[in-house]
């Protein structure tokens, strides 16, 4: 093609158009989440073994002390620590349901799923004879929980009974299913594997059943023959996944590609993670006897649901 100077802009525009065809999903480095100069801050200490972090629509943080506590604790937006429920031992996972109650995994000799009505000061047993580790509740009341020793993801439909949503085999699926989280659209359920390399995902059907299990997310491990120790999980408003692990808090983009590993606050293992605080913009982690948080550029999916409600 021969042309003078006057057709240069046309060439440039066509090259811009060619360049603008996206070949890959948007890259999501840690810099999209972390803020320069913001580090982990201790927000509560003196516990024994903290776990089960979750949040409500306002951004208050709730956590349990599995080893010693008989309480569910709350850190309010004012930073104050309050015990909101007592006689609540062995709680390892919590999540608010659409009815405003806290649903919780109660392990050890209890082996049950319970729901706490904090306002009325009442507890209801939802399911017994289970070995729950962590759970999540959809906005329409489906409960999903991990039963680590049974290699099982269990499901309780609203008002229904416990059923095995999926059971792994020795050669396929999570060997020690642990943390559990939903994408913002609640169309995908993710489960970390304390004893393996992957975080697994399923599609969530309208009736709450799960299908098409996939080893969608590969975690970094401390060495090739060491498991990820994938534990507590959460997701953020754009669908990134966060998994506590042996090497820190691992972040993945919505297509399952690692964005990076966030350093843990101390050398104690982190086992639970949640977005909470003002605007749900703070990452909170449970690190043994202590709770830490750090401000981020993103926000948790509780913030998305709070807007929907």
């Amino acid at each position: 093609m021969s042309c003078g100077k006057h057709c240069l802009p046309v060439l440039l525009i066509s090259s811009f158009l060619a360049m603008s065809q996206p070949l890959a999903a948007q890259d999501m480095p840690l810099t999209q989440v972390l803020i320069d100069g913001e580090d982990w801050q201790s927000v509560s200490k003196g516990h024994r073994f903290t776990d089960g972090l979750t949040t409500d629509a306002e951004g208050n943080l709730y956590f349990a002390d599995v080893a010693a506590g008989t309480t569910i604790n709350r850190i309010g937006l004012d930073g104050k620590l309050t015990a909101v429920a007592d006689e609540a031992p062995r709680i390892s996972g919590m999540h608010f349901g659409p009815d405003g109650r806290i649903y919780a995994c109660q392990g050890g000799s209890f082996g049950r799923i319970v729901a706490f009505d904090l306002k009325a000061g009442k507890m209801e047993v939802i399911a017994e004879n289970v070995k729950p580790n962590d759970l999540v509740v959809t906005s329409d009341g489906h409960i999903y929980f991990t039963e680590t020793a049974k290699m099982q993801v269990s499901h309780i439909p609203p008002g229904g009974n416990v059923q095995a949503a999926d059971v792994a085999s020795k050669t396929d699926g999570p060997q020690r299913p642990n943390g559990i989280a939903l994408t913002p659209d609640q169309g995908t359920l993710a489960v970390s594997d304390y004893g393996g390399r992957y975080t697994w995902v399923w599609r969530v059907a309208e009736d709450g059943s799960l299908d098409v299990r996939q080893s969608y997310i590969t975690l970094r491990t401390p060495s090739p023959d060491f498991p990820s120790k994938g534990d507590g999980m959460t997701t953020d408003a754009v669908g990134r996944y966060y998994v506590t692990s042996a090497v820190g808090l691992q972040m993945f983009d919505p297509t399952g590609r690692m964005g990076g590993v966030i350093a843990p606050p101390t050398n104690k293992p982190i086992v639970s993670v949640a977005f909470a605080g003002p605007g749900h913009q703070y990452l909170y982690v449970a690190a043994g006897d202590e709770i830490f948080r750090r401000k981020t550029k993103t926000s948790g999916i509780e913030a998305v649901r709070a807007k929907q409600q």
Binding site: P9, L11, L12, Q21, L23, Q186, R203
Partner: protein
């Protein structure tokens, strides 16, 4: 004229951003319809019964050249991110390139299969479909190759007469599907012997940065590889594409592969690769069907500029 100034500034500013260097890459006559050259047919289909990637759906296209004669077995090339390759206004315009090169007998009569990555449609109301592209393309291992070889290709080419020989099969991709094409041949050289990678993601999206090390310490495989990249390709959290492609080329050279490497000055686009496609095809198919065993690793080797 005032409103034009920002536009002009954008355009002139654009002159100095490296990405515009790709404006130098123009498709040649080989990539444009030529009179007197018979046109093959392209049909579009959907694949939604994968056992290896359960729940996925994907579009695919089949190109059958006008010269195809069902009594004579044809060769096969499989294009990942197929929509971009089959598009008659896209970066590569493969059906037209095949029409022209087959007509000139610069490549054999070859069926083109163009396949998109899978998506898992949401079934919960308000749910979003989940992309399976990175899982399929960026993962190392044989899963995707097995999907093509054991599941997809036998089904979609069952009515076509194809040569059953790895020398008669090539695999092509761009970016993540570029490394995917290499992975498929690396895992299954018994099936694919020819690889084209545009701006291949030999970076740490899901561990693919290890290939240069693996290539150097693995007995050479009978695969022929054409790599293309650009100086202004990506440098991000996953890695540095131009460095990664140089490492690939250096490793292929070290291990005495029959490879070529073209490093241009473009960015993360198919433009340069698209203009090179006719040359890539001529090079890959240059001696077919008389591909000599000894030329596979010793013939037209060590081309390209590895700095």
């Amino acid at each position: 004229m005032k409103p034009l100034i920002p536009l002009l500034a954008l355009l002139l500013g654009g002159l100095f951003v490296p990405a515009t260097a790709t404006a130098d890459y123009r498709l040649t006559a080989d990539s444009k319809p030529q009179s007197g050259v018979p046109k093959g047919t392209v049909t579009q289909h959907r694949w939604e019964k994968s056992q290896i990637y359960p729940g996925t759906v994907r579009d695919y296209w089949i190109y059958v050249p006008a010269q195809y004669d069902a009594s004579k077995p044809a060769c096969l090339m499989v294009f990942q991110d197929g929509r971009g390759y089959v598009n008659e206004k896209g970066h590569s315009r493969v059906p037209t390139v095949f029409d022209n090169l087959i007509h000139k007998k610069e490549m054999p009569v070859t069926i083109g299969v163009f396949i998109n990555p899978g998506t898992i449609p949401a079934v919960r109301p308000g749910g979003k479909s989940r992309s399976n592209r990175s899982f399929e393309y960026d993962s190392l291992g044989s899963r995707y190759a097995n999907f093509l070889i054991d599941e997809f290709l036998p089904a979609v080419t069952k009515d076509l007469n194809l040569v059953d020989d790895p020398q008669a099969r090539g695999i092509v991709g761009i970016s993540s599907s570029g490394i995917c094409a290499f992975t498929a041949a690396w895992e299954r050289p018994d099936y694919f012997s020819k690889v084209i990678s545009y701006i291949g993601s030999f970076t740490n999206i899901r561990g693919g940065h290890v290939y240069p090390a693996l290539i150097r310490k693995t007995e050479s495989k009978p695969i022929r590889v054409f790599l293309q990249d650009g100086e202004n390709d990506l440098d991000n959290l996953h890695g540095h594409w131009p460095l990664a492609n140089r490492q690939m080329a250096a490793a292929l050279k070290f291990a005495k592969y029959d490879y070529r490497f073209e490093m241009g000055d473009g960015g993360h686009s198919g433009q340069h690769g698209g203009t090179l496609l006719p040359e890539m095809l001529r090079w890959l198919w240059r001696d077919y069907p008389a591909v000599k065993k000894e030329t596979v690793n010793q013939g037209n080797v060590n081309q390209g500029n590895v700095k």
